[in-house]
Amino acid sequence: MQTTSDNAFQSHYMPNTPQERAEMLRVLGLDSVEDLFADIPQEYRNPALSIPPPMSELELKAELEALAKTNHDTKSYASFLGAGVYNHFIPSLVSPLINRGEFLTSYTPYQAEASQGTLQVAYEFQTMVCNLMGMEVANDGMYEGASSLAEAALMACRITGRGDICVLDTVSPTYRQVVETYARPQGLQVHVLEARNPHLPEGAACLLAQYPNYFGYLEDLASHKVATHERDALLVVSTDPIATGMFRPPGDYGADIVTGEGQGMGVPMSFGGPYVGLFATRSEYIRQMPGRIVGKTVDTDGKTGYVLTLQTREQHIRRERATSNICTSQALLALAATITLATLGKRGLRQVAELCYHKAHYAASLISRVTGYSLPLKGTFFKEMVVKCPTSPTVINERLLESSIIGGLDISHIMPDCMLLCVTEMNTRQEIEALVGALSEFSR
C-alpha cells in the first residue's frame, strides 16, 4: 500500500524514481537534491508544511463529489438568477472539443508555427465578436466583463487624454466598483450619471453604458451617443452578447468601444469563473486596445497562417508603457464561445435570444397579474426585469428554494423590495409557472 513517508512516496505525476534522482545527481556531481537549494539561507530551508498528506484519486473524487452535492445547482433547481451571469444552453460538443489536450494544454501561441490551432480560433473569435458587436476590430478576449469595461475606460482616457470617466447609474454596481478599482490609482475620476438624462461634465473622457442595462432594459444608446459626441467623449458600451442576437448592436449606435461578458456563450456559470471578457473597438483605436490580437499573414511558402500581432502594445514588449498588464487571459473560454457560436450560428443565436425574450415577457405578464407584484420600470427589456415584491425578496427566495427554485437577485438596497429576475431559454413554461405559483403565496 502507498505510504506517505517522504521517501516512500512516489507520485504518479513525476517520473523521477529514487534511482534516477541518484543517477542525475551523479551527473551534477552532487550528493543530494538539497545541495541544489544551497542559495536559500539555511535558517529558512525546509519549513514545516502543514498540508494534508497525499490522497488517492479514488478517495479525493468521492470527497469532492460529496462536497459538490452540498451546493444547490441548476441540475436540481430551476434558476431565475442572472444579473450578469446566465444559465444558457451549452451544446454537448463544446466540452469534448475544448477538452482536447491540444487546445487544453497548450499556452499562449508565442511559437506561431506550433500553435496554428489556437491562433486560427482566435481569428475566428475576433471575427465573431466584431460581427456581434457591429464593430471593426476585436481582441482575443479579456478576463471577464467587468474588468473589460474598466480597461475600456482606461483606454478611453488614453485616447482622449482626459481623466473623467462618466458611468450611468444603470450600469451594474459591481461593474462600477471594478471601474473604480482600476481608475482610482491612476488619478482618474469616476462620475455616476443618471441614465435618464446624463449630463457629461466638460472634458469627460467617456460615458460608460450597459446594454441591456443592469435592470434588464435597453439603454437609449442613440441619445447617449449624442450626449457623448457633444463632449467629444467616447461612448463605451458593455453588452450581453446574447442580446445582440436579436437587438441592434452597440456598434450600430456609434459606440466607440464595446465590451461584454462572454460567459453566456458556452461557458458554465462555475460560481463566478473562469469566463471571458469581450472587447471591440474602431480600427483607428487599435493601438490603444489592451489584450492579445491575432492577425492573418503568410509563411515563407506563401501559405496562409496566423500570428500574434501588434504586440508592441503588450506588456512583454512595452513593459510599463503597455496598454494593459494582461498576459494570461481566458483563451480556453474564448474557444468555448467560438465553438458555441459556430454551432448556434446565425439562426441559432437569434432563436436563443427570442426564446429568452418571449419567456421573460411571459413570466413578466404572469407575475404582474399577481396581487402585490408589479414591474416598476418601463421600456423594453430583454431577458431580465425588476419585480417589486410584497415582501423581502430574500425571504421569498428562501421559500422558493423549498420548491426547488433559485429566485432572482434581491436588489432591495437599490429599489426597496425589488428582485431582479432573469428568464432564459433554459427555463421551461412549467418552471415559469411554478415560480409564479410560489410567488403568489406571498401575494397580499
Binding site: 506517505t4 507520485s11 505525476y13 517520473p15 523521477n16 534522482r21 542525475m24 544551497a38 529558512y44 530551508r45 498540508i51 484519486e57 479525493l60 463529489e65 459538490a68 451546493n71 444547490h72 445547482d73 441548476t74 451571469v85 472539443l97 491540444e102 487546445f103 487544453l104 494544454t105 497548450s106 499556452y107 508565442y110 511559437q111 506561431a112 508555427e113 506550433a114 500553435s115 490551432g117 489556437t118 480560433v121 460581427n131 476585436a138 471577464e144 461593474y175 471594478v178 491612476q186 488619478g187 456559470m269 462555475s270 490580437i293 500581432t309 512583454h316 513593459r319 503597455a322 498588464n325 494582461i326 459556430a342 454551432t343 450560428g345 446565425k346 415577457h361 423594453t380 428554494l401 433559485i406
Partner: protein, 495 residues
C-alpha cells in the same frame, strides 16, 4: 492534395452555407409575446451557418495543429508547462461546481465556499503569509492587486508621496506594466554579475519616495537571489514594502516560505504552480497572499469561516479597507477547484517533491548543455535555466532560429529573447513531470542543432520545416493588420 488541406483550414464564414444549422433549439413553449419596435431589432447577423459535424471536424483538425503538453515536451520558460492532471478537469465540471451561480446566497453554496476557504488556507501555509484573497484572475491581476494594497497602505499612513516602484531589469513585463497601471513611476534595478539584484543600485534607489519593490523569486533568470533577505531589509529600511512575484513558486514549494524571507505581499500563479491547463492562453488565477499589515486591504471578496450555534459555515466578506473588486465575481472558481484537487492529491510530501524534481531536471539540462550553449550565470539554477545562443549567433544562427529548429525535432521551443537582459536568451523550464528520457532526447536535439549551426546553418535558418506552416511573416501581419474575416466585395453585392 493541397485543396483538401486548404479546405481543412478554411474559415467558418467561408464554409457557411445559407440554411444550414448547427443546433436545434426548443420550440417556444409559452405564448409568443409582442416584439418591440422593429427599430430596436437587428436585421442581420454575420455568423456562420454550418452543421454540427462540420463544427466538430473543423475544431478537431485545428487542434491537431498545436503543440501541447499532452502531445509534446514544452519547456517554455517562465510558464511552468507541467502535466495537467485529468482529475482536476473532471471534478471542476461536476454539476455542483459548474452549475452554481456566483450570486446565490452563501447558504446555497457552502461546498464551494468551503473549497475556497481551504485554498486560502493552503496558500497561506505554503507562502508563510497571514492571509490571502483568491479574487485575482491571473498573475498580472494579482500583481495589480498587490501593488494597490501597497499603495493604499502608504496612503492610509499618510505616505502618499511614495511614488516609486523598483523592478529588476530581468522582471517579467507584467511587473512594470502592473506598477504603471497603479500609477507608479517604475525604476529598473540592474542584475549583478552573479545574477542577483545589484545591491549598490538598490541602495541608491531606496529613497524616501520608495513605495516598494517587486521581486521575482526565483528570478526570471532561474536564480534564487543570494541576498534576498538583505534586499527585503533594504526596502523596509527605506519605508517601502517588498512584493514577491510568486509565478516561479514551482521551484520553491516546501523549500522555503516567502513570508519568512521578508516579503510583505505576493501573488501566485495557480495555473502554473498548481497545474491548471493553460488552455492556449488561460484561464489562470493569481491569488494574493499578505502579511498581517496588509490583510485589511485584500481585494474582495474573501471567504471567512464562522461558527454559529456550534455549526460551521462559510461566508463571503469584504475586507475592511479593501482595494476593491477586480472582477464581477469571486475569482476563477474553476481554477481554484483544480488547485485544491492538485494540492490534496500531492499533499505535503508531494508538493516538496515537485520543487525538488523541477530543480533537479533543470540542472540536469544545464549541466549537459553548458558546453554547447553559453550559460550566462554559471551556478546551479532553480526550476529553469537561461542559456544564450550567442555562440551560435557567431556562426550565423540566432536564438530564434535555434528555437524554431527545435520544433522540427518535435519539441516546443523555450521562451526566446527573455529575460531581455540576456542576449539571444533561451529560457528553458522542463518541469518536474518530464522524464529523464525526454530530457536526454532534448539534450540530444539541442546538441544536434548546435552542430547543424556549424555544418548546415541554412537548415537551421530556414526552420521550421515540418510544422503545418513554415516561418510566418510577422512584419506583414503588423504592417497590414488583417484581424477578422470580411465579406469580399462581390459577395456583398450578392448578399
Amino acid at each position: 492534395m493541397t485543396a483538401q488541406q486548404d479546405h481543412r483550414r478554411r474559415l467558418l464564414m467561408d464554409r457557411s452555407v445559407p440554411g444550414r444549422v448547427g443546433a436545434i433549439l426548443p420550440s417556444l413553449d409559452v405564448p409568443a409575446q409582442e416584439l418591440p419596435d422593429g427599430q430596436l431589432l437587428r436585421s442581420d447577423l454575420d455568423l456562420p451557418e454550418v452543421t454540427e459535424p462540420e463544427v466538430v471536424r473543423y475544431f478537431t483538425n485545428l487542434s491537431q495543429l498545436n503543440f501541447s503538453i499532452d502531445t509534446h515536451f514544452y519547456p517554455l520558460g517562465s510558464c511552468t508547462m507541467k502535466y495537467n492532471p485529468k482529475i482536476n478537469d473532471e471534478v471542476a465540471s461536476l454539476p455542483g461546481f459548474a452549475g452554481i451561480h456566483p450570486l446565490q446566497p452563501d447558504y446555497q453554496v457552502q461546498g464551494a465556499l468551503e473549497i475556497m476557504h481551504h485554498v486560502q488556507d493552503y496558500l497561506v501555509e505554503i507562502t508563510g503569509m497571514a492571509a490571502s484573497s483568491l479574487a485575482p484572475l491571473a498573475g498580472a491581476q494579482g500583481e495589480l492587486c498587490g501593488i494597490l494594497m501597497i499603495q493604499k497602505y502608504h496612503q492610509e499612513r499618510g505616505d502618499s508621496h511614495r511614488l516609486k516602484m523598483l523592478i529588476p531589469d530581468s522582471a517579467h513585463g507584467t511587473n512594470p506594466a502592473s506598477a504603471a497601471m497603479a500609477g507608479y513611476h517604475v525604476v529598473s534595478i540592474p542584475t549583478d554579475s552573479e545574477g542577483n539584484c545589484d545591491l549598490k543600485a538598490l541602495k541608491k534607489e531606496a529613497t524616501s519616495d520608495l513605495a516598494g519593490m517587486m521581486i521575482t523569486l526565483p528570478s526570471t533568470l532561474g536564480l534564487f537571489d543570494q541576498h534576498i533577505v538583505e534586499v527585503c531589509r533594504l526596502i523596509h529600511e527605506a519605508g517601502g514594502l517588498a512584493y514577491a512575484d510568486g509565478a516561479n513558486m514551482n521551484a520553491l514549494l516546501g523549500q522555503v516560505k516567502m513570508g519568512h524571507l521578508g516579503f510583505d505581499v505576493m501573488h501566485l500563479n495557480l495555473h502554473k504552480t498548481f497545474s491548471t491547463p493553460h488552455g492556449g492562453g488561460g484561464p489562470g488565477a493569481g491569488p494574493v497572499c499578505v502579511q498581517p499589515s496588509l490583510q485589511p486591504y485584500l481585494p474582495a471578496p474573501v471567504v471567512e469561516r464562522r461558527s454559529y450555534n456550534g455549526k460551521e459555515s462559510y461566508t463571503l466578506v469584504t475586507p475592511e479597507k479593501t482595494i476593491g473588486k477586480v472582477s464581477a465575481s469571486h475569482g476563477n472558481f474553476g481554477v481554484l477547484v483544480r488547485a485544491y484537487t492538485y494540492i490534496r492529491t500531492l499533499g505535503n510530501v508531494g508538493l516538496r517533491q515537485v520543487s525538488e524534481n523541477a530543480v533537479l531536471n533543470a540542472n540536469y539540462l544545464l549541466t549537459h548543455l553548458k558546453d554547447r550553449y553559453h550559460l550566462p550565470f554559471d551556478r546551479p539554477c532553480m526550476h529553469e535555466v537561461v542559456l544564450s545562443a550567442d555562440w551560435q549567433k557567431g556562426k550565423g544562427v540566432n536564438g530564434l532560429e535555434t528555437a524554431k529548429r527545435l520544433l522540427d525535432y518535435g519539441f516546443h521551443a523555450p521562451t526566446m529573447y527573455f529575460p531581455l537582459t540576456v542576449d539571444e536568451a533561451l529560457l528553458i523550464e522542463p518541469t518536474e513531470t518530464e522524464s529523464k528520457e525526454t530530457l536526454d532526447l532534448f539534450i540530444e536535439a539541442m546538441k544536434a542543432i548546435d552542430q547543424e549551426a556549424t555544418e548546415t546553418p541554412d537548415l537551421v535558418k530556414g526552420a521550421p520545416h515540418t510544422t503545418p506552416v513554415r516561418r510566418l511573416d510577422e512584419a506583414r501581419a503588423a504592417r497590414q493588420p488583417d484581424l477578422r474575416w470580411q465579406r469580399k466585395a462581390e459577395e456583398d453585392a450578392n448578399s
